[in-house]
């Protein structure tokens, strides 16, 4: 089955991010395809490379990055959500003259159209944290 996963919450503020991560791992293990992973609203914080988690806690953004790389999952952080929350790639950091960029290299910044497009090409869209 082709599944699109939408994550609406930041890691640590809500269990939904970790649940989404485990859902993706389980779905892939069961032979399903993650067609696209879309981070919306506070969910874009999952794509930050600057977050530092406590040593005895799961590093959720790092886990996402590992999963995305391993399975080459098409991953998008919503542009309007990301910019407001300070999740920037090099291009956006330069465009808005910010001092740093922090978007995971495993993700790209794009628009909500990517979510609608994924919806039309997936058998299921599963939302976490909304």
């Amino acid at each position: 089955m082709k599944i699109t996963v939408v994550v609406h919450t930041a890691p640590w503020s809500h269990q939904a991010s970790a649940t989404a991560l485990r859902f993706c791992q389980a779905a892939l293990k069961a032979g399903h395809v993650i067609h696209r992973l879309f981070f919306y609203y506070d969910g874009v914080h999952n794509t930050s490379t600057l977050a530092v988690s406590a040593q005895d806690e799961i590093d959720i953004p790092a886990e996402w990055q590992r999963l995305i790389r391993e399975h080459e999952i098409d991953t998008v952080a919503c542009v309007s959500s990301a910019l407001k929350r300070g999740i920037l790639n090099d291009t956006e950091a330069a465009r808005y003259e910010r001092t740093a960029s922090n978007l995971s290299p495993a993700a790209e910044i794009s628009g909500l159209g990517q979510l609608i497009d994924a919806t039309t090409h997936s058998d299921r869209v599963v939302n976490f944290g909304a």
């Binding site: 609406h8 609203y41 542009v79 291009t91 628009g111 159209g113 990517q114 919806t119 869209v125 939302n127």
Partner: protein, 129 residues
């Protein structure tokens, strides 16, 4: 930062968006509206449903500028220009909040639970924000 993907030509889905939060305490109402607009731009068949505290978003004559918030109703007015004609408000939610006679900023179809159930059943995908 722009969305360069072309709208899908053949794939039309029935997408239902249910907005359940009050207008200005959180940013979810706008996040939902943005999804609705994006779906409309991509030529999908859209149902936009207001229920629970979400019905407060529809009440006319709000002054969000007083708290530095954006006016949602200006964008609501543009919905029909985007081809979003199926806008619904949940009757029970209006009644519970004393809004059954309130002046709303846009025309909506007031629906009951059974109708909402059918909308959801007939949808390919439902987003709840």
């Amino acid at each position: 930062m722009t969305d360069t993907s072309a709208p899908p030509s053949a794939s039309h889905r029935r997408l239902t968006f249910i907005s359940r939060r009050a207008p200005f305490g959180e940013d979810y109402p706008r996040a939902c509206l943005d999804m609705v607009m994006a779906a409309a731009v991509f030529d999908q068949q859209v149902n936009y449903v207001f229920m629970d505290d979400g019905v407060h978003q529809l009440v006319s004559g709000q002054a969000p500028a007083a708290i530095g918030a954006k006016d949602l109703s200006a964008q609501f007015a543009a919905l029909s220009l985007y081809g979003v004609e199926n806008v619904f408000a949940d009757r029970q939610s209006l009644l519970e909040r004393g809004l059954e006679n309130a002046v709303l900023s846009i025309p909506v179809d007031v629906i009951d639970n059974a109708c909402l159930q059918r909308l959801i059943q007939d949808s390919d995908q439902v987003f709840v924000l």
